[in-house]
Every structure is written in C-alpha cells, then in structure tokens.
Symmetry: D2
Subunit: 375 residues, 4 copies
C-alpha cells in the first residue's frame, strides 16, 4: 500500500444514499483493503503516481450519511454477498466497521408527507453533517452523492430536487462535494451563488463505470484512425435499484444525456443510434451493456464493432467513489476551490476538460503532481 497519511487527523465521508449498494460496497471495501484482506483493485488513487499526493489514507476515513431507507448496513452487506458483489465471509469479518458506519446514518428526505420547505430541509441536512463532524472529530468531510438517479427536474418547478438540497447542505456545513450520479446536485442555477461564495471544491457528474468508460476509449480510436462512425447504438440491462429507477423515462433521459455527450464531444458529431436502459431485476446487482458501432472505412466499406460489457456496478463504482472522496478532500485541504475538471477521468459529464479517457488520465496524473507540490 503506497498511501502516505500526511493528514494528522481523520477525514469524514458523508454518503447521500448511505444504505445503497455503492455506499455499502465502499464502506465494506475500504475496511477490507485497510485490513489487508484484498488488494486495492479498481482504486486508481492507490497506484504509485498518487503515493506522495498527500491523500487521506483509507484507514483514516470515517463514514456516515443520509438515506431514506432503514435496512442496517450489516444486513445490506449480507444481501450484497448473496448477490455475489461482496466476497463470502466479508460482512462477518468487518462487522465492526459496518456497524460503526451504520450508527452514523441519519434519515434523509424529503419523505412523503414532509411539510418542511427547501430551506428547512437544507438546514436539517446540514445539521446532521455538522453533528457528524463534531461527534467523530474528523478534520474535514466530503459529501458524496451515490443515491439513485432522480428524474430530471421540470423546468418550472420552484422546489429544488433532493440532490440539490443535499448539495446545498454540504456547502452550508463547509464540506466539499462529489456528485457520482446524473442528478442535478450543485448544477442548479439556484445554487450558483452559494457555490461561488463557499470557496469549496467539488466534482461531478455521473460516474463513468461501464458503457461510457468503453466509449471514452473507443470513440477516440475511431477519430485517431480517421474512420467514419455512422451509428452508435447501445442497450443496457440492469437489475438492482438502479434498473428500476432508470425505468422512469425522465431518469433515463438524465443518464443518457451523459452517455451521448462523450460521443458528441469526441467524434465532433452525434452519430445515429439510440441508448436503451432496461430494468431486468433477474440480473440482480449485475449489468450488461451491448454497444453496436457501424463505421465506414476506406472507400465507404461498411464495418462493425460490437462490445458486450458484463459487470457489477457497485463493484465498479465503489473504488472510484473512494478515490474521489480522498482526492476532493485533499483538494479541500490544499485550498483548491470550485469545479475540478482534472477529475473528468471519473465522470460521464465532467466539469470541462477533455472527453477521451487517455487525456483525462493524463490530466488526473497532473493533478496528482499538483497535490504533491502543494504539500
């Protein structure tokens, strides 16, 4: 393990969606890797280029969060084990860590029938986060949205979507913020001033874990080879809660916008083709993404590339979420503020920066260097 623990104290990670599959896998995985039970597969921030960047050590992370569900983390971890996401026996081995995190989870909202207005909700959420920081004695905390994708807000809705309420609460509690979902979060016009005034760093949006990850390496290949992409079609089959959430066309629209952006940004055109997201509960925590790319070669010859990606979304997301929490907390410590386009490597819909994965990786390595120098 190469992480230097340059921060004297501990760092808080406050999950919005703290009882979901991603958060549960992140908490369990952090404990497992810290205990030396598993290698740090999938954690980019644990590779050598980040060794001296002063990231908070995995062992220094303290977890808490909001959720509207009540199933305890140890039970969620058992379910993820039965689903093949977590290894056998792990929930028992790290029961203490799961219970500790579970004790720091507070009811989120707004729940059905909740009569509080936006400001009251923000205040309540901020109080929860502030109390967590005080209670645990962490030197700072980062709020990370890993909850289910919410529908795109209607243009004329005066209320903020829930993801923005939590994001505003993060600012109010003095926390940096990561949005790993396609939901609005800080990207609400209503929050622009608060973001600006906060001087806090933040990163988003929509973690790049599967089909879009592939697209961000394949699309540049076609461009570099001067091949003419005619149509790029995709179908995603996913079970778990995410499948059900995305069966809502408005939520799917939010997700697809990110997926299509990487093609348009890289290819310079929007090729023909659609993206489907199907809810297939039988797949459990696993997902399958099929892509079909029709392209023209020399003299108009018709060629086809197809890809089939079969992965577990929580297992793909969790190490990236831990990376982001540590990188953004470190940026906060280093005094950086505003969006961090250097973290575009992690997102479908980043805050600027290049769209090709190779260039995003270069930017991330430069960011690691910059953090080193700011120590």
């Amino acid at each position: 393990m190469t992480t230097n623990d340059s921060t004297a104290g501990r760092t808080g990670v406050w999950f919005v969606g703290a009882r979901g599959s991603v958060a549960t896998t992140a908490v369990a995985g952090c404990a497992a890797v810290t205990a030396g039970l598993h290698p740090a597969t999938g954690m980019v921030a644990e590779t050598p280029p980040f060794a001296d960047s002063g990231l908070p050590a995995l062992s220094s992370l303290v977890f808490g969060g909001h959720d509207t569900a009540s199933c305890p983390l140890p039970k969620r971890a058992e379910a993820l084990t039965a689903a093949g996401v977590l290894p056998h026996g792990l929930p028992n081995t790290i029961a203490a860590e799961l219970e500790a995190a579970d004790a720091e989870i507070r009811i989120g909202g707004p729940m059905p029938g909740d009569t509080r207005d936006d400001d009251e909700l923000i205040a309540a959420f901020a109080d929860d986060i502030t109390a967590f920081i005080r209670r645990t004695g962490v030197v700072r905390a980062v709020v990370v949205n890993v909850s289910s994708t919410e529908p795109e807000p209607a243009a004329d809705d005066p209320r903020l979507p829930a993801s923005s309420l939590y994001a505003a609460a993060a600012l109010r509690a003095g926390c940096s913020y990561v949005n790993f979902t396609p939901s609005t979060g800080l990207r609400s016009a209503a929050l622009a001033d608060a973001v600006q005034a906060s001087g806090l760093p933040h990163a988003g949006r929509d973690g790049k874990t599967g089909q879009t990850l592939l697209r961000s390496v394949l699309a540049p290949m076609f461009v570099q080879r001067a091949l003419d992409v005619r149509a790029w079609s995709g179908t995603n089959l996913l079970g778990g809660g995410d499948g059900a959430a995305l069966a809502d066309p408005a939520a799917a629209a939010a997700k697809n916008a990110g997926k299509e952006r990487v093609l348009a940004d890289t290819l310079g055109i929007a090729p023909e083709g659609e993206v489907h997201i199907d809810d297939v509960p039988a797949l459990g925590e696993w997902k399958t993404a099929w892509d079909h790319i029709a392209f023209d070669g020399f003299l108009g010859s018709r060629m086809i590339l197809q890809t089939i990606w079969q992965g577990c979304d929580s297992a793909l997301a969790a190490p990236l979420v831990l990376d982001l929490a540590r990188l953004v907390a470190r940026a906060h410590e280093a005094g950086l503020s505003g969006p961090l386009p250097e973290l575009g490597f992690y997102f479908k819909d980043p805050d600027g920066g290049p769209a090709a994965l190779a260039e995003q990786f270069d930017a991330l390595l430069s960011f690691a260097e910059r953090l080193k120098e700011s120590k």
Copy 2:
C-alpha cells in the same frame, strides 16, 4: 483536403505483393481519392495535423512492385469489387491508373526451381526497383511489404527469407522501407550492417488493423482504472489469401507474437488466454475477431468484456499503407535515418515507443510537427 505538395517531383511506391488485395486496394483507393470520388476515410495523413508536414501528395504517387502472381490489377480490382471491398463501378472509372500500375509490376521470387542464390536475387530485385525509379522519373521511392505472411524462418536456415531479400534490395536501390507484415524484412541479423550503413529510414512491423488496434486502446483502459486483467482470449476468422497463409502454424506464430506483445507491454504481465487464427474461405475478404477479456474488479468481483470486430482487412490496411509510404518517403527527404519509432501507431510490433494507442498517436502528431520544422 489539406495536403501540400511540397515536393516538386513525384514519389515512387514499390509494393512487395503488388497484386495482392492490400496493394490493389491502395492503388485503386489512391486514384479514387485523388479524383475526388471518395473522401479520405481511414487516411490519418490526410487530416489537418499533417497539412503542413510536406508529405508527398496522393496525386504524386507512382506505383509499381514485385509479385509472384500474374493476375492483372484491373482483374484483381474487379474481384475485390465483387467481394464488396471496392465500390461498384470504381475499377472502370480508374482503369487507366490500374493499368499504369500493372505495367510497373515485375515477377518476384524466388519461384520454385529458382537456382539463384540470395545475392543474385537481391541484385535482380534491386535492378527492378532502380529501373522503375529511372523509368518513371520519381525523385525517390519507398518499398512497402504487403505480401502474405511468411512462416517464421528456422533458426539454422542459412538462406534469407524472401521478405529479407526484398528488404535488402530496397537498401541496395537506395529506397526507404516499410514492413506492413509480420515477416522478417529488415529485422534479420544478417542485414544489420547494411541497414546501418544505408542511412535510410525504415518502419515496421505488422500493420495494426483490427483486433490489435482494439487491444491497444482497451488494455490501457484496464491499467488506468487499476482493474486486474486475468485472461485475454481471442479468435480471428479470416478468408482471403491471408487466412490460408496464416493457417500455417509457423506463419500464425509470427502474427500472434505481435498480437500478444501489445498486451504484455501494456499490462506489464501476460494474461492467460490464447489467440487463434482460423482460415474461413467463406468469409472472403472479411474478417471477424472475437475477444473475451476476464478481469477482476473491486474485492475480486469477476467481470467480462467481449468485443466483436467485423472488418475488411484490405480496406483497413490500404489507407494506412498509403500513409506510411508518404510519411517514410518524407522522412527520407528530410534526411532521417534508421527506425522510426514515432510510427508505432501503425504497427503491432513497432520499433520501440509506447504500446498504448493514445500515446502512439501523440508521438505521431509530434512526428508531423517535426517534419514541418525540417522543411
């Protein structure tokens, strides 16, 4: 199109394997693009970054070559049209260009029963090339090997393989050299001194057109994401002459060495898995490559990526071959000598340089800049 014709004169392109599918497609395609009948899809050297690099214009290329087959180019072009490689009607439209190239093709060798020794063969081939240069008045010529893959030479064979005879002839005729095949070419210990003494630039080996192209973008993705590739298996189905040539296990071994190198170089380990190359004449000029990649994610979760690439090898190779001929001829003009690792973008088994396509592309762009400055 943005090519500047900075060379006053014309440039010769001498194909070893001049009646094969790749050479025929290159000659036909060069004529078609020059005539404005088709866009320059697949020609990287026709994209803006190369506009001022002083490459010889497509319209300035003069074709000739060696082959042991005798089928005239116009007839080969008709066959490629029936096979769906060339567009309908094209052979008729560019009959003059095909006939002109056909008139510059000489019998190669050694043919069965040929009693000439290596030096006599080299001399004869060099004479053919020299005569072509004199007859056509080109300012310089580049020899490009696009013939069928030859079996790996036996360690104790005192004779040079045919590809090396042609490569030696190129040097003797003062020509730069490109090896688009996995055959030995200039990479024979017996030719090391001659290469060194010639002061000529050369590039190789084994054009990267399909499965390996994909591998050179996918393997870096796994590395950058810290995912653990456990097994990478591949099957290639190809018809045409290439399928038959590669059904010879020794020839397949030569080809597979290049394919596996990109994985080992990028991943830092050689994962489990084999590569098969099957001769399937029913596929005609088309090939299909299936790759199956088993990788571990966070906490040992098992995931799979599969890719299916369906392309026409000649149509993929021809624009790259034209690129290489122009880039190496320009390097010759610019006084560069020895291997050109900056052209690793085009090869499975390059003369050094990075293994990831993105970095190879950056190196190629730098090379384009360097050529600009040397004008």
Copy 3:
C-alpha cells in the same frame, strides 16, 4: 429443381407494397432462380418434400400489385444491388421480368387528400386486381401484403386500416390472401363475415425472418431442458424503410406483440425483458438483432445466452413470400378455405398451431403431404 408444374396455367401474385424491397427482391429472385442463375436458397417449397405437392412452378408466377410509391422496379432493383441485397448485374440480366412486373403495378391508397370512403377504396382495389387477372389470363391470384408495418389502429376508429382495405379487396376479387406484415389485414372484426362467406384460404401474420425465428428454436430448447428462463431482452437495429416505419411506437407495438407471443406461448410465462426496434438508416437494408437471455440452471446457478443475428430482411423475406404465395394458391386450387394454421412455420403470429419451429416444420410437411393427396 424439383417443382412439378401440375397447374396447366399461370398463377398471379399481387403484392400490396409492390415497389418495396421485399417485393422487388421476390420478383428479381423468382426470375433469377427460374433462369438457373442462382440456387433456390431460402425457398423451403423448393426442397424435396414439396416436389409432388402440385405447387405452381416459379416460372408460372405472374407479378403485379399496388403501391403508393412510383419508383420503377428496375430502378429499385439497382438500388438493392448497390445495397448488397441483389447480386451485381442481376437487374440487367432480368430487366424484362422487372419491367413486366412494373407494368402491372397500380397506385394504391388511400393517398393524402383521398376523399373516397372505405367501400369505394375496396372496390377500386378489387377492380385493379380483377383487371390484372383478366389481362394476364392467370387461373387464379393470391394477394400478398408486404408493405410497411402500419400503426396499430385506434380502438374507436370507424375506418378500416389500409391493410384491411386491401385484404377486403382480395376477397372481393376472389383471391386468397397472405399477410406477411404485423398489420391488421383480414384480422379485423369488420371483415369476419366476409372472410367466412368467401370460402377462400388465407395465411398470416407477420413473417418470421430473424430474431423471432431464433426465438422459436431457442425457447423450446430451454423448456425441453427444464431450464428456467428469467429474462429475455432484445434490441433490433434496422435501416431501410422498415426501420423508419417501426420508429413509430404504435407500429413497433404491433411488431413486438408478435415477438413476445412466441416466448409466452413456448415458455408458458412471459419472462422479464423488453424488445427495442431502432431505426438506424446507416445499416441500409441490413439489420442486427441482439438477444440476451438470462436463465437459471440447477440449484439456481445463473447463466446467459446471447445471440447476434445479422441479416438482410428482404433477402430473408423474399423466398418465404414466394413459398407462401405458391402454397396458398395451391390451397385455393385444392379447395381449402379459411386460415391455414399449418403455415405457422412462416409467421410470428400464426393462425393457431404450435409455437416451436420444429413442430411447425412437421405441420408444414404434413401440409405438403395433404396437398399431394388432394391432387
């Protein structure tokens, strides 16, 4: 060729959608096979079991039809050649047959602004068919719907959909009828009495050419092996006119009903999973269908079968359409009337009979026997 020409005279085939890809391919293919230019690949009725069933010979078929488009058949055939559906040179070789069929095509309808009511349209269409029979001297004619899929009719629409107008015209003209599309055709409650009274044979609905064909052999396999299909998901990418027509959700709904029926009928349950039909014009006349089948094996083990079907719909449909025209015309001659469930082999949504292809094939062979005996 094994067909006996037991009918003294000729048989008319009247296509609804006579200028479409399927009809054009059928006319061209019938001429090509009759002339001995191509084998009868894809024509089940040309295999030995049908040799003595008294089917009208391919050489005895006379083509005509309705269409709202005006592009002449020879030009449509050229376009299909450029698209890779018809072999090079074929349109020239069989120009006479294409022109003969083109001369027998009449404008269909209702066209925009058409003020005729349903009965007037039926009468006009029937007159066209009757005139064709008289003019060509065929002993009988069969009307075959191969036009684009029409949207599912609204429940409260008092007008008949166009496909039903043509079907009613067939009855009025004393013709047997085949519906190769998912459109309503004869399956309108408003036509039930006329169908009954006519005493004419008819067959439908929705030709089974690709994804559903596969499903009708794969679904029985799961049942026979007592494997538990959990989810069956599919995506179809298609260009051509069909892609555009099916981009209309109402038309797609009509098509999908047939696709899902085969699963429900065979598996006894409707598994999870959706079917998408995407319009991808870049694919031209070709289509790709991806199916993903999640099934449980022994002790709940999770397994997956995926299929990718890449075919040309017109080339798949045309020989089946010719089969059906001949089988139904022969049934007419033999005095059969009403629906022919023995032809379920050809349809996604047949008029009864088994759902598994193997049993449908057995039923078809029995039908061939029955036709023999009725001679």
Copy 4:
C-alpha cells in the same frame, strides 16, 4: 414433484470420477432437491411426462464411486460454493449426505506405478462396486462415468484406456452403464462381446451441455429454412479441471469429434470452420462458448449468426447425470438391454437416433411412455 417411487428399494449410483465437480454437484443437488430446498431446475426427468415412468425417486438414490483424488466431498462442495456453483450454506445443510457419499468412494486407478494388468484392475473395480451394492442393499446400481476426458487411445495400444476398465467392471458387477464423457468407455472393440453377453442397458457418449446443445437446435433451423451454412466456427473457454484436461490436443480431439458430428449429421455436409477448446483457469467453474455461423440466404446474400453461451458446466451436467442414472436404472429394471438410442437427447455422440434436439426430445418422450407401459 411428481415422481412415483415404484421401486420398493433403493438404487445405487456409482460415479467414476466421484470427487469431481459434476459428481459433487449431483450428490449435493440430489440432496437439496430431495429436501425441498431447491426446485428441480434442469432435471428433465422430474417434468410431468416422466411422472408415471417408474423412475427411481431422487430420495432413493445411494451414491458411491471411484476416484484417484482424495479431497473429501464436503470440502469439494465448499470449493464449489466459493466458485459460485453451489448456493451458500448448502454444504452445511446437507453435510450428512455428502459424508455418506464420501464414505462410499474408493481409490480408482491405475495409479502411477500400478503393476496390475487390465484384468486385475477390472476385477478390483468390480469388487468395489459389488461390495457397495451388498453393503448398501440397493436393488441395482448404475455406473456413470463423469471423470475428466482422457486422450484418444493410440490405435496400437494393447492396454484398455481407464474409462474402458471401469466400464468392463460395471458389466462384471452386473450394472448398467452411462458414459457422460467423450472417453472410450464401452465403445472399445475389446469389450464388444462382453457388452453383448451382459444383456445390460447402457447409454452414451459425451453429455451435451452447452455449445453442442445449441448447435443441435440451430443447425436444424438452417436446414428447415433451406439456408446454406457456409462456415461454423467455435471457441470454448473453460477453466476448472476440464479446461486443463482438454488443453491436451488428444483429449480435445475426442471432444471435438462429438461437436462436429452434430453439424455433419444435421446439415448433411461438414461446413468450414474449426472448434477450439482453451484452458482459461481464471474462469474457474464457468465456461464461455462463442459460435460464429456464416450462412448464405436468397441469391447468395451473406448473413451471420453469433451465439455466446456462458454457463457452469457442472451445474448443466449434474441434473442430466441424475436423469440418466435414473432412466438407465429403470431400463435395467424393465429388462431392456444394449444401447438406448432414445437417450440421444442427452449426448453429443449418441448411440444412433436423430441429431436434431426436437426429434431427440420426441424420442425421449416416447421412451418415457414405453417405460410406463412396461410397469
């Protein structure tokens, strides 16, 4: 479940390869289904058509066998649970049944350095089986070969292969016999007289669990639709012991013979294309089979079907092995003798009968009827 226990007593199942994945899964699964813990998914003999055929009940089966390995069954079952083949917790729940079977396993052979000749080995194996029958009091026993594929025997080897020694021992002990592997078993000329004289029923060879199962439904589809299969290529990736055994080219040859037979028998021709079997230990107990089928449609149009089958071989094989043991034991009871071609449904290389799965299923159902009548 509908099985009638028409036999008063219990039936022995003697596995050759009793500590392998298939046998372990069969023992564990039989216990799990008997206990009502899991449905009988994958067990054809538990479906309604077999209800009154007098098969021995699952609960009446008593397991034992030979193996050269020594790892106890409960430990093997734990390993299969970790590999995802058996459900969590199952080994604990059925520990008694696993231990009971383990107590009935004897060392097989010949082990390295074994000096016994063939007849001595046969006698020793037969003694083991006879002692098992006596000790457990079963009314009869069936010997089932589920051991690793052995290399094809050399033509001039005077010794019998191990699989034939076990098969001869089965006859000597008066047991019926099932060969679920591609090994020789009873199909040795040296055993022909003994088979004939024994009057015992037997079935084989080479269980049809994945790629060949698919081929036996897809190949008939092409034939029934008069489509022209040009090339059928396949690659199998498998881990576990089977992958390693089949990495031996001689063993792979034995396996491939069966795979190709189904195509030749169904299509009437042997299409182009090869079959590869790769050892990929990273896949554990899971296997992936990719098939690529190039076929011609109407007028020579080129089309492609690809299939990807991802399954767990042990979970696919175990229920079929239990089916076969019960069916052959029942045939023995009913006085049937010799090969049972009606069981071709289960085998790649059956003892005669049709090659298409649908017809094999019909034959199996007839066999179930015949057993009913013989009660």
